[in-house]
Amino acid sequence: MRIPASALLLLLAANAASAADTPVDFNREVRPILSDRCFGCHGPDANKGRKAGLRLDEIEGATKKLKSGETAVIAGDTDKSALVHRIRSNDPEEVMPPPDLHRPLTAAQKDILARWIKQGAKYDRHWAFVSPQSHPTPTLQDTSWPKDPIDHFILNKANQAGLNITAPADRTTLLRRASFALTGLPPTLAEVDAFLADPSPDAYEKRVDGLLASPRFGEHLAVGWMDLSRYADTWGYTGDKPMFAWPWRDWVLNAFNHNMPFDQFLTEQLAGDLLPNPTQDQRVATAYNRLHRMTFEGGSIAEEFRQDGINDRVMTAGYGFMGLTLECSRCHDHKYDPISQRDYYSMAAMFGDQNENGLLSFHGEVPPPFIRLFKTDEDRKKEGDLRTAVLAAEKALSQIPLPAAATEVAVPVPVAHFTLDALTKTGADNSIAGGQPAKFERRSSPEDLKLVPGIKGQAVKFDGDAGFILPEFKQLGRFDPFTFSAFVRLGEKNVRATILHATGFYTGDGDATGVELIVDHGKLRWSLIHLWPNSAVSVLTDTEMPTDTWQRITVTYDGSSHASGLRIYVDGRETKTTVLRDTLNAKPRDNALEIGSRSRDAGFRNGSLDEVQLWRKALTAAEVAVLHGIDGRTLPSSTLAEHARLRMDPGYAQAWERLQLAQRALATHQESAPAFFAMEHSELAPKSYVLTRGEYDKPDLAKPCEPGVPARIFPWNPSLPANRLGLARWLTDPRHPLTSRVMINRLWAQVFGAGLVATSENLGMQGDLPSHPELLDTLAVDFIKSDWNTKAMLRRMVLSATFRQSSTPTTDAREKDPANRLLARGPVLRLTAEMMRDQALLAAGMLVEKVGGESVQESAKRRTLYTYRKRTAPPDNMLIFDAGSREVCQPKRLNTNTPLQALVLLNNPGFVEAAKNLATRVSKSSPEPAAQITLAFRHICTREPRAAELAALTELYAFQKANPPQFSPPTPAEPSPKPDPKAKKTAAQPPVLVLPRMPADPSLAALTLVCSTILASDAAVTSR
């Protein structure tokens, strides 16, 4: 078990003295007590009625006279300070903290608080909210040992605790340690031999540089960043469909491999889309914000999940870049850190700046906003060229002069005409010869639809649940002109009612894709949607429809992909509309047209339709007028001229055709490239408000939140743009107290097993104090000065004398510092799930090394970071070794020890297969079992086995060989996976890995069991 850093520091303090007048350090000793025991009720959160009006997180509040007449803290006067009285009280009504907190103060803690008040009750700013300063390198008596200023800080503190440094680790151990720290893999035997054979004094430096230059470096660093960024390959909620995200993972590992400066790494992920002329890669980086889970569960409420998504983004950036628990402020002001609920929703405004839907499409399409991922620069250039061609064609079209007004207007024959004078058993007849009839959609029957007197003969009145479907009427795409016309009568002021649609079913807009004519708070909304709201064209009438009045409503779409191509006519005349959306950028799904109803949505309740007509072309304004019985000759000449242009001008028709071809070519090219989710700022994004108690349906309209940051942690520079790019600039300001410290601490943890701040996920007031604050700050400053050079910083750490020490403690060191917080010996790491499996594959010669690409199943034998991660069913062998599900940001993995881990190492098919292959591999090297065993041991554990180890393994070999495996039936055939014919073959369905059987050859079988045993041994699962 590890002793927290603060306890160690106390140990150091206790060594000095513990008299009543020992100076108290506010940050180290007082604040942790106040924060943990008092701030819950007397802290920054004003929402829940700060108890007794007392606030202890700042001096003004603590020393204020309270309503009760008491004053909590009177500097220098313990007798009069109510705080001292209350913490010392034995009266359960009076004592603080109150008994129901279940966290009483110890005598030592009471003493610290009293001494603090006696000594003047000085408040210091929380250490992590003060910009880091470089500290002078401590001078040491022994100057031969240190190799880097790091070592000065480490040895200085170790000496203070009465510890001395440990001798260097042997070279093999050091190489294994450095290889795991930098690449996540052990060295190969060839690398070991080459390293041991290199006599040059800089042999280690050269090897470290080799490791840093290896593509394995980026693969290894990516793992931690994927945990933090909750990277996975599925969406995570019910159904858990595949999520196309791996290009972002490749961006991350490439960024690490190319040693992208960390400030750039941060900026491109948070705000790559907001950089000037962003590249495709910079936009891919922003998927960082989109990796949160999304649901398509039927009946989900879009706003609830949109807010959850935004929260996830804020939370993830909070942990990843600031080491803070920002999400605590979602429902109330932060209980410990100076982050108000308003600050939180200002951050939410930054991350919620998308024109997006909270729900995933049922069909799992990439949720907009998205970009197109072109493979080559040529393809990207081609897209640009095609765009230019569209613009040119649009221009050419617009330059064609208006012809003379038409003198005759004839309405084209519709493809369908439903008079609705009668209903048949199955629906309604189409009066156009050869036209398809309308059918009752499957939930309805004749009795659900009522015949009522219409404008011509009978009409149909709808109940809101039942309607007609036109199964043949499909293919209303973005380039397909269309007209719908009918007499419409509203029977009530519908808040929402579907008149017509070809969108399949409705799940809170998340899945409605196709044309749609609905009543929206009494107005008409006419749209063509790919995925609402980002990829759609949509217009809304300015005026409401009257109720109980027949009107002929005609809507047209000209196939232009623009909102300007959507028109709404009332009684033959165009009505004014407002454009809601004009960003259709992919094709809608192909659904049948439905009238009067929609699954899971409000149909045309109490509304009536008569004389429904459909055209597969856009009627002109003149035709719509004539259709309604308006005399064509009375129409304005502009309308007639437009009609002439659209129907009679071959030049215009040709130019229109050219434009359509250009648009189709662009669309075809775009759709040939996969869509990839990315951030895209939109002015249409909903505004952010403080949500009362964090509830999505309780925005406090009196508290709108402009984009902003928790400025009490670090001031906002008003010259920065108030968006994600500004946020990135704020975070990477060299004076920002958190960003550099958080990253240094994380790099340190990667190399030394634990951060200088052990709670690497939380540098706020409830986090641990740094074990070596001066070192952390100095490194943070160095990091910024080095232009945020990640590789250079890691290089310093692994080249330090501290890192190079042997990890074996002296008895004294183990007693004084069992958790090795002071690093007076080298670090020990239990391998992660990834390292453990990668090591086995490498040792067995089975590892398929290929950088990047689609995620794969374990059977592909790639490095584990590429293993397909299904959020609701993560790989068991990884969960058992403390990898998370990647449902939410995981800043740190625990390090547990369980029986199931032993079962994985001994019986998981992958590990057994590795043991078997390794046995085959080493059996060919030498006829001698001892030599074979030694080689196998080295392949896995890097070092030579010690004599006792070799003896134990040789004995095991002899025992197993003497008791060869018994099979029934006696002639073994390798089992093969039996494919389940019913199982769907998707990447999300892992193939069943088959547990290999033992080789029949007794020697090989014995050697396999030896390899298996080595894989499960401590020397294999650790880097020491």
Binding site: M1, R2, I3, S6, A7, L10, P32, R103, Q109, T238, R293, E297, S300, I301, K335, R443, D465, Y506, T507, G508, R600, A602, R605, A758, T759, G764, G767, D768, T808, P818, A819, V828, T872, D876, L879, I880, F881, S885, E887, V888, L894, N895, T896, P899, L900, L903, N907, N908, V912, A952, Q960, N963, P965, P972, R997, A1016, S1017, D1018, A1019, R1024
Partner: protein, 478 residues
Amino acid sequence: MPPDKPSYDGLLRPTRRHFLGTSALGLGAMAMRGIIGDAHAAPLPKGTHFPAKAKRVIYLFQAGGPSHLETFDPKPLLREKNTQPLPDSVRQGQRLTGMSGYQATLPLAGSFADFKKYGQSGVEYSDLLSHTGELADDICVIRSMHTEAINHDPAITFFCSGNQVAGRPSMGAWASYGLGSMNENLPAFIVLVSQDATKDQPLYSRLWGAGFLPSEHQGVQFKAGKEPVLYLTNPEGVSPHARRGMLDALGKLNADQSAAELDPEVDARLAQAEMAYRMQTSVPEVADLSKESPATLAMYGESVKTPGSFAANCLQARRLIEKGVRFVQLFHQGWDQHGGLPNGIKRQCKQTDQASAALIKDLKQRGLLEDTLVIWGGEFGRTAYSQGKITKDNYGRDHHPRCFSVWMAGGGVKGGQAYGQTDEFGYNIIKDPVHVHDLHATMQHLLGVDHERQTFKFQGRYYRLTDVAGNVVKAVIA
């Protein structure tokens, strides 16, 4: 010992080696609980805060949202008002899901199933649950459960972990963490998923996950068949004898390593491997139902013979708790009747009724019921109105978090009562509401745990199963 570990107490903690040497719990218990190297995890079991009435829990989770109106909460008025619209005064503007929220009308649907009174206590049960009804005097039905989420995924996550955000420890993980294991050969928290259920809504491993607790508290899924626990089976050709040889060699390797590295983690690792070896024997033993008497098998019903069925899992659960498993959670899917409710719920009840009742009887016969808490229920209830059309013999019900029923028995529960009351539409609670947090608090209370004191510090905050809420429902406790 205080429930949390203020950092100043760190110095008072024994080193692991001291503990391994001196603890009365011994190496096995230590190993089972697992050992972690993290300053934020409390490494020792807290034990109980007060005497426990229940030592263990069997949770029969009915996933999908069973309708309370056809099972435990009779509403004659709904039959009277069948097909009439739900009055706005009852709905009170509460949110509906997008599946029925846009429906033109919300027609009330009376239960097709009849109810009658059972036992001395006269609590009413539906005819679909006659076996359960027979035990009315042992059972406490809570008719006033309510929850927060309205969709399956958030709601079932909320029920199983006290929060709809993913990543929180599940109920069983808390029990394992807080109370530790009672045996040296089996995990403390075991999960059984019915293979005979209609898989309408999926389950997720987070429902039995350890969340931020150390991973050894994760529920271990037991599956029907040759390998009840993942990776339990040795590769073909590796006999138990051969495996023993490997462990002996492993022991020697690690002993040498321990001597060389002076690291107590090495010994702990070996203890885990030994436990794994014992599990290889103990798990197949406990999973073997063939030794059960014909009378016992008959009690659970015909489907007990189908491996992995709900009935077989109920019997399996009894065998597991007999061996000292702390928390067994069954999952039975198929309760999500948006449409076709009558046939759907008949099937569900047929699959679960007899075996659930048999489990109680079986526990009782063996004297285990008094300290084993059995809970039956799903993540929410269903609407009083029909989703879609009502026909003569068909209707459906949408999700309804505002009220639903669960039952508890054994383990200190006061049987023979129906607690809480809903309005005559079965839509709102009118008396003694029980929130999910309250149920969790009560469950923990019966286990001897103060739900406010069992906490785990994570990311700077003290977390507990009941978040910041929850009251023990005293009236359901005997």
